[in-house]
Subunit: 148 residues, 2 copies
């Protein structure tokens, strides 16, 4: 979960190490993702952010860049319900609780599934790697609204 300015360079280094090229667009996209912190950005949002400094980066380039960065292992994609796809830093293991009614997203620590992981190993020999799981339900607000 890096928010430091030098993080971009670290990521670019990883990119290079993976045999990918370093370009303005890729730097810009990485900067946008870092700027978003824990947030999950859609391609459109990334494009909007990069446009502030680089108005000429085309949306299709953003898509292709996000793809490359995922392949390079720097980013991970995630989809919520029927919203557009989102992207976030790959090493940022975490989970979500999403309200089915209002769409509020709760960020969860990456250990909430520890118990499940143990049980899967014991009962099925399955080695779970829960990296990005979404749990549906109702947030506190919507839930109390329902009970009322």
């Amino acid at each position: 979960v890096a928010h430091h300015p030098e993080a971009v360079d670290d990521l670019v280094a990883k990119l290079k190490a993976g045999g990918h090229r370093t370009t303005t667009a890729r730097r810009a996209v990485l900067e946008a993702i870092l700027e978003a912190g824990d947030g999950h950005l859609t391609a459109d949002e990334v494009a909007e952010m990069t446009h502030r400094e680089h108005p000429d980066i085309h949306l299709s380039t953003v898509y292709r860049t996000l793809d490359s960065l995922c392949e390079a292992g720097l980013l991970s994609p995630a989809r919520f319900a029927d919203r557009p796809g989102t992207y976030h830093l790959a090493d940022d293991h975490h989970h979500h609780a999403v309200c089915s009614r209002c769409g509020t997203v709760l960020l969860l620590a990456d250990d909430v599934f520890a118990a499940v992981t143990v049980r899967l190993a014991e009962e099925h020999g399955f080695h779970a790697e829960p990296t990005h799981i979404t749990i549906p339900g109702l947030c506190a607000t919507c839930n109390s609204a329902t009970e009322a």
Copy 2:
């Protein structure tokens, strides 16, 4: 998890109870979903199935019907990665552990998330309804293959 012929009538009864109308298209869609058993069908697949008996049911009707049936609480939608959306019986609570390497799918009891549910309620007031969650990881076979 109903596979019985009379199940369609049960579902239609629920539909009616919910103030919705009974139509040929809705029966046909429900039959398709039941025929699929545990499977998850896309709108296209449902359309294809209904076409065998009712070639005139339009794809847009299938979409609208699936929507209605979800609203009525008979079906639930689910999305996997970037495939088209799927639909399945709502009362069919279950979870999956999917092997990232070989694709093997493990069916899990619906209580594996009990601990997580409790914790979410306590820590965030979030009322989780884990109805259909997929956990990635490695199955026993692939896992031991990796360690070797």
